[in-house]
Symmetry: C2
Subunit: 209 residues, 2 copies
């Protein structure tokens, strides 16, 4: 494929993924259709089938590319504060970023359309794990903490807290629920001195700042 | 309605709910159908429509009756140990009790078929809250713990840990993940003396014993 053609193919694929995410976010997997997505992406049937053969293939792509949909601006040194900041950044993204929200929704509801792919979960475990290892090097963690074990607990707990928040309040109370979760997790994770210095955003305004 | 007729109606309803749970558990909401459920329950179309008018109505009933599907045999005095035991009892039920498992699955995936009902979540918050209040009376909790806040965190975290375990291992590692979660939650919840006396089942055998 020559350069311009390849470039166009990449753009078309991105436009399709974005349109698919929007439609999945609005209608769920069951309520979405290839034709709705084609219309939203303004691509022809040929363009669609060159990239994706089925609604399931599209859902899988949106689910598996979760990391591409969020761009956390790195601020400060890697460690516990950055892990907490990333957690609250993701909460804001769930409220405002349709691509990320659709991907998380598909990751949670995938059982209903016959998928079982933990890629999206494992990639977050890896990211959280890296920040926990940095926290360990900075002397922020308690001696008995296993960085990978805690990363797994955090990804599981976070997933459930956001599902509960979504069903209870449409995610309006997500930051508040996250702050509560961190309040009870920190004493089993970090040294008292570290906890005293950490900043947990308490509400939406603060978290978005 | 005279007595025998009423009795029969109650039995038919229970048979339909059980069959619906089995079909939802096996095929998910999208893959389930009223006709599959009628066949499984061995009821006529008339019998079905007397009790439930739609697949969505059936899913809602299975989701909302979650508490009816699990019967925790109360052992010991209400407090933290009983809360932990209940958590591990529910893990075992998720692995073996099709009615409960289907109900939890529908509660998690409900967004995909257009429901938003947090009844099942709130009923667990209430149950966990009662046990936390008993723990408070027994002097097991740290001073700053808010029983209702912690109950909300626990229901959210538990939901997510079981979703992650289901996607990662078909729930084979659920007890292990639960033990990790409790390991990191306890220091922010209970007094050191209470923690030293608590028993956290570490694996499936122990949890099932």
């Amino acid at each position: 494929m020559d350069e311009p053609k390849q470039e166009r193919a990449v753009q078309t694929r991105a436009a399709i993924l974005r349109a698919a995410a929007e439609v999945f976010d609005e209608f769920g997997y069951t309520g979405a259709s290839i034709s709705k997505i084609m219309e939203r992406a303004q691509v022809t049937q040929g363009g669609m089938y060159f990239h994706f053969k089925s609604k399931l293939g599209l859902a899988h792509a949106v689910l598996a590319h979760q990391q591409d949909f969020v761009h956390f601006p790195p601020q400060g040194v890697p460690g516990l504060q950055l892990l907490i900041d990333l957690n609250f950044f993701l909460a804001r993204e769930l409220q405002t970023n349709v691509l990320f929200r659709a991907s998380v929704r598909l990751a949670v509801e995938q059982g209903d359309f016959g998928l079982r792919d933990d890629t999206a979960y494992q990639e977050w475990v890896d990211q959280f794990h890296d920040l926990l290892c940095a926290a360990r090097e900075r002397g922020e963690l308690l001696p008995y903490v296993d960085e990978r074990e805690f990363a797994n607990v955090l990804v599981g707990a976070y997933s459930g807290v956001q599902v509960f928040s979504n069903i209870a309040s449409g995610r309006a109370d997500l930051q508040e629920r996250l702050a509560s979760m961190w309040r009870y997790l920190l004493p089993g994770l970090a040294t008292p001195q570290t906890i005293a210095e950490l900043r947990i955003p308490r509400d939406v305004q603060e978290a978005a700042a």
